[in-house]
């Protein structure tokens, strides 16, 4: 329907987002209701209820294996690439259940960009990496592609570093730069939400700082959901924090509250490093 057409109505979606954010900052992007997920017999997500707001950074924390990545991959249905996965419950993205039979995954994924733990640029030039998304969605015009590439690289705060080497292989830059190229690649499809799964865990402190600053910048235009093992990072950059444990959401609240005054003992134990 009209949804696919709006993606490249340059800037229109971004404008829309801005208008909403001034009127009501609490509009929800993702409303997860009673979500359960199984990998075969392994019950990995249990009765998850999470209401994720627009133009906020939502951090997901919790010990290894508690289901953070699984939840993130459920939000853009990447988790369905694992053949044994079964789900129940619903996730409303902008009011529509993403598990609906007629909801196309490709459509969902052009609205929800993803950045992975390990920088994973394609073995192509930097330019072709960024242009990949627009191209698969049908943009052929060289001038428009040039513009998207520049805009996305600027958006990911990497333009100045790579503008003279756009046609070099994306693997010829440092790991931290590669990760920002991957962020730029996600921005190039002009998404509404950006999912990040431990985006800085493979990076040095300086690159990490750059990406954290970038996240702050990006939340003006996008809603960001970020998985992190780094408590300070969650505290520094997020507005809300969800604490996962054994596939359940133990606590979900304002980041300040979670870190200064958690209501659940297990949350407190985890953030103070007593287990995990």
């Amino acid at each position: 329907m009209s949804t696919t057409n709006t993606i490249y109505n340059n800037g229109k979606t971004a404008e829309l987002v801005k208008d909403d954010s001034t009127s009501s900052a609490s509009k929800s992007v993702y409303d997860t209701q009673q979500l359960n997920l199984w990998y075969g017999d392994n019950h990995a997500l249990k009765n998850i209820d999470l209401d994720i707001k627009q133009n906020e950074v939502t951090a997901i924390i919790g010990p290894s294996g508690c289901g953070k990545s699984t939840y993130l991959k459920t939000l853009n249905r990447m988790v369905e690439l694992v053949p044994s996965v079964k789900t129940s419950g619903q996730i409303l993205y902008r009011g529509r259940n993403i598990f609906d039979k007629d909801y196309g995954v490709e459509e969902l994924r052009t609205r929800v960009g993803m950045v992975f733990q390990k920088p994973n640029p394609f073995p192509k030039s930097i330019y072709d990496n960024i242009a990949y998304g627009p191209r698969i969605h049908g943009i052929k015009n060289k001038k428009i592609l040039d513009e998207i590439v520049e805009k996305s690289l600027r958006g990911a705060a990497i333009w100045d570093e790579v503008k003279d080497r756009l046609h070099e292989n994306a693997y010829s830059v440092s790991g931290g730069q590669q990760q920002r190229i991957c962020i730029a690649r996600a921005l190039a499809i002009e998404p509404d939400v950006i999912l990040m799964d431990e985006p800085t865990s493979a990076l040095d402190p300086i690159s990490t700082l750059k990406i954290e600053e970038l996240v702050q910048e990006l939340k003006k235009d996008y809603s960001i959901i970020i998985v992190t093992h780094n408590m300070q990072q969650a505290a520094r950059i997020s507005d809300k924090t969800a604490f996962f444990l054994n596939g359940e959401v133990i606590e979900y609240d304002k980041t300040d509250t979670i870190f200064s005054n958690p209501s659940d003992k297990r949350t407190e134990d985890y953030i103070s490093g007593r287990f995990g």
């Binding site: 994924r109 960009g113 992975f116 994973n120 073995p123 698969i136 690649r185």
Partner: protein
């Protein structure tokens, strides 16, 4: 208490180094003996065949008289054969590999198919010849044409191409697939734009090595009924033809000693063709050199 006694370690070091050196020499010896056999073989063939090798040899048809015998029909025939085998086997092989790796689920049937493909790679080539004779020559009435022989050879090398392509596809990192799907690419777009470009060096190297096997195979051609003495070139895929290994086999089984030289010259030509094909494989591998 300590588990590692450092004094002991130092004392035993000499013995360990000796064993290390010993195995190094054994492996070196193994490599050298293989190399030696190859050198002797090459020397024998080249010294026998080089006298007969000339431009005339390449442009003459086969003959009863050894000094006039040429390899034209066989050389051109082998090229025709490759023109059928290469597209047929690569298209079918890569297609099957893509299906098995990217589309087929992991269930009993696909495991069974997979197992059989690996087994087929070990079936003797005569058996493929018989299959070709029954299906292509007789049932489909293609006769002993380039097409029938080409299809038979394609079947023969198909398992090798499938397995090589599967391995190449499997070695494409999963993160690249994730990145592509994560941006809303369909499976087909991901295959065409990400997986195949990354897998192509492996696929082509495997395919060319399989093709060089096909160009040297004799048994299936004999079974399919490809003639040896031919005084014309095929004009199309429905014509009959002869191929390099057939011609060489025929020459080497003749009683006159002169024909042994002709056979050796033929082997040199075949080896040059193989060498050319393998160099193409190496060039492709280097050209597409990838980084992850």
């Amino acid at each position: 208490m300590r588990y590692i006694e450092h004094d002991n370690v130092v004392r035993r070091m000499n013995g360990r180094n000796l064993v290390n050196k010993l195995f190094k020499s054994i492996f070196l010896l193994a490599t050298l003996s293989a190399l030696l056999a190859l050198v002797i073989l090459l020397y024998q063939i080249v010294s026998q065949g080089v006298n007969h090798l000339s431009f005339d040899f390449l442009v003459n048809y086969a003959s009863r008289f050894p000094e006039q015998a040429g390899i034209k029909a066989a050389l051109v025939g082998s090229i025709w054969l490759m023109l059928v085998v290469a597209p047929t086997s690569i298209i079918l092989g890569v297609g099957s590999a893509i299906y098995l790796e990217e589309y087929a689920g992991k269930n009993r049937i696909t495991t069974f198919i997979q197992m059989n493909i690996s087994n087929l790679a070990g079936v003797p080539s005569v058996v493929f010849g018989l299959l070709g004779l029954t299906i292509f020559v007789r049932a489909l009435a293609l006769g002993n044409s380039v097409l029938a022989a080409g299809f038979t050879m394609s079947l023969l090398i198909l398992p090798v191409i499938i397995v090589a392509s599967q391995e190449a596809i499997r070695s494409v990192p999963g993160e690249l697939r994730d990145a592509s799907y994560g941006m809303g690419a369909t499976k087909w777009q991901t295959i065409v734009k990400i997986i195949l470009p990354a897998a192509i060096p492996g696929i082509l190297t495997g395919s060319i090595l399989a093709l060089s096997r096909a160009i040297g195979e004799t048994a299936p051609l004999i079974v399919v009924g490809i003639p040896v003495i031919i005084q014309f070139l095929p004009k199309g895929v429905m014509d009959t033809f002869t191929a390099l290994p057939m011609q060489i086999y025929d020459w080497s089984s003749r009683p006159q000693p002169e024909f042994q030289q002709v056979a050796a010259a033929g082997i040199i030509v075949l080896m040059v063709v193989l060498l050319l094909m393998n160099s193409v494989a190496v060039i492709i591998r280097n050209k597409f050199e990838k980084r992850y």
